[in-house]
Symmetry: C2
Subunit: 337 residues, 2 copies
DNA sequence: TCAGGCTACGAAAACGTTTTAGTAAAGCGA
DNA sequence: TCGCTTTACTAAAACGTTTTCGTAGCCTGA
């Protein structure tokens, strides 16, 4: 059915090796034969076989993506799906397909690394996952070219959204609007959370703000319900904050909900911000003031550096690439009463 | 580096074929040797090579997904990303990986079908794409096992959300609330659009409603801006409808926007509904009344039928599997004034 | 005792490529 | 003319599996 390189060679009256070289652009093939072969290939509908090629050449032109979060939202995760989309587009532009990595393929359990070896992916992009998972650490310890999003493994490439700058901008923004009593609802311990917390404290201090410990609340990312609870606690205090920063747009909806239920108007009675800049924020009323992470650039850079790492392992790529973010001024921050 | 079956055979003092059979559960291998081999494989960290296996066995255990829309929202598409996520999960449960199919891998242009042949995917799932695209039609005409979401190709498997039922429920719901003047903003011509339109007309007729032609507007899916325009036109009419059905949740935001700008309150002054049941609808205020498509079941069923088709091509699977949908009663429909 | 049938294993071909090593033919300088 | 290089091609091994076919040894029944 499918025509192989052998048949193609026969049709051309050439050897298999010549045809292979002609198709792969070897210099030792004359222009004449090359065009002959290319024409014949087209006419015969010849498509090379990726598996045979990968088997021999030890390159699969396949990139793995590891991608999950504790809530198993997977592809439906508003933030990471946009990163992944642009990762995929850039990978394709560079000649790579992308395959999801998981650890149970059918009945056979595999670790992530084993799955990568099984499919012989040329490299892997890790995002939005528990980076302390032993299997992920095993992956990071392997020889496999690897890029992570928002987490730095020692000696590994990492695409970092500039969380320091983001929180700094955000705090200064609400400060500029007149807020001095600022609470911060952050996510669970992770690289990202830590950076944002550091930045929050640093900026608060440099602005001379005194933030009581109990205005910092730990919640879950991507989980409005937990933020709802935390926001309620904050708002019930006699001497409550005038502004609540939530470290996740989607979860910030929980804070809006809480405020609404308590009869507080946003932004008149209480200011609220998010973080991420997902599309949703600009579709709700009032529009959420937030930090927009450049997800498109993050995905593109991840694919770019990963393929570069694969194709020329020698070149030293900076370990961390920091992607700047921008402030989206919505309608959820106003001067405090 | 990586240990091959040959080395494993040497370690066990067995032949390559015996080892292969032991690992693949052939009956002709004694229990004794099998456990020996399995233990040795584990100890040696043996992982089979998917490419070699695919090359020989003509099965890649890889499923392609073809997935794009005219706005190139790709994975960020709220509706289809949830379908894809559950497709992926079910595929993995059944032992298949999933790879995206596209048509330009690097510099070499390929048709979708060529890409499938290149990667030797065992089957493909097509969703959310222009089904009249010649390349998609070529795919549908091929021998490749195939399942589509929401479009019926002749003789091919299709997972259909029950659009007839959905629109019927929706129209009856607003009718029940007292609406008689109902407009419908639908998407561009497609299988889905057609079914919904048919259902709209049929139900309207059976309820004795008389819908003037200019209350039907064609817009783009996933595009609030175009719906915004259409809604404005509808609302500016002297004798305007009391309820507008929009065939897409996300785009329905455009209608809400238009109403808001014209000083009309939803649902007091005008009722609006969406369609799809994406998460967003229950996060905005007021919550959108809509039809929820069972995206999880759609994805799962797509993966199930596709793998079944691959593994036993003989068994006749019904051409179309219809997935029921449910009404989500939000806060955007009230009795007309 | 022997034909026949299991049982448990092995040899080797095959899958479709890429790549190394080799080689005729042509070109070239002296 | 001769030796040497260059050009343009070919032969064949290899990549890591699966699978067909073959077979040695054992058991069984008459």
């Amino acid at each position: 059915m499918e025509v192989t390189i052998r048949e193609l060679a026969a049709r051309c009256g050439l050897s298999v090796s010549t045809v292979s070289k002609a198709l792969n652009g070897y210099a030792e093939i004359s222009e004449e034969t090359r065009s002959l072969v290319v024409a014949a290939a087209k006419e015969a509908g010849y498509i090379p076989n990726a598996h045979a090629r990968a088997l021999k050449a030890k390159q699969s032109y396949n990139l793995g993506v590891l991608f999950s979060d504790d809530k198993h939202s997977g592809l439906t995760h508003a933030f990471f799906s946009t990163v992944l989309e642009s990762f995929k587009q850039e990978a394709e532009r560079r000649g790579y397909d992308v395959t999801f990595i998981s650890h149970n393929i059918g009945s056979t359990q595999m670790t992530y690394l084993e799955h990568c070896r099984y499919r012989e992916v040329d490299g892997i992009c890790i995002a939005c996952i528990d980076f302390w998972n032993p299997e992920v650490i095993q992956l990071a310890g392997s020889k496999l070219p690897l890029v992570t999003i928002d987490h730095q493994f020692n000696g590994r490439m990492c695409i970092q959204s500039d969380n320091i700058q983001g929180i700094d901008m955000l705090v200064r923004h609400v400060y500029g609007k007149g807020h001095r009593r600022i609470a911060y609802i952050h996510g669970r311990r992770s690289t990202v959370t830590d950076m944002r917390l550091v930045s929050f404290h640093r900026t608060a201090q440099s602005l001379g703000l005194d933030i009581p410990e109990h205005w910092l609340k730990e919640c879950h990312y991507n989980d409005p319900a937990s933020v709802y609870e935390a926001a309620k606690q904050l708002l019930q205090q006699p001497n409550r904050p005038t502004c609540i920063l939530v470290s996740d747009d989607f979860a910030a909806l929980g804070a809006l909900e809480a405020a609404g239920e308590m009869g507080l108007k946003v932004p008149e009675d209480i200011s609220i911000t998010g973080y991420d800049g997902i599309a949703l924020t600009q579709l709700i009323k009032p529009k959420l003031t937030t930090i927009k992470q450049d997800t498109v650039l993050m995905g593109t850079e991840a694919a770019r550096t990963l393929t570069q790492l694969i194709e020329s392992p020698k070149t030293t790529i900076p370990e961390t690439i920091v992607i700047p973010c921008t402030l989206i001024e919505g309608e959820t921050v106003a001067a405090p009463q």
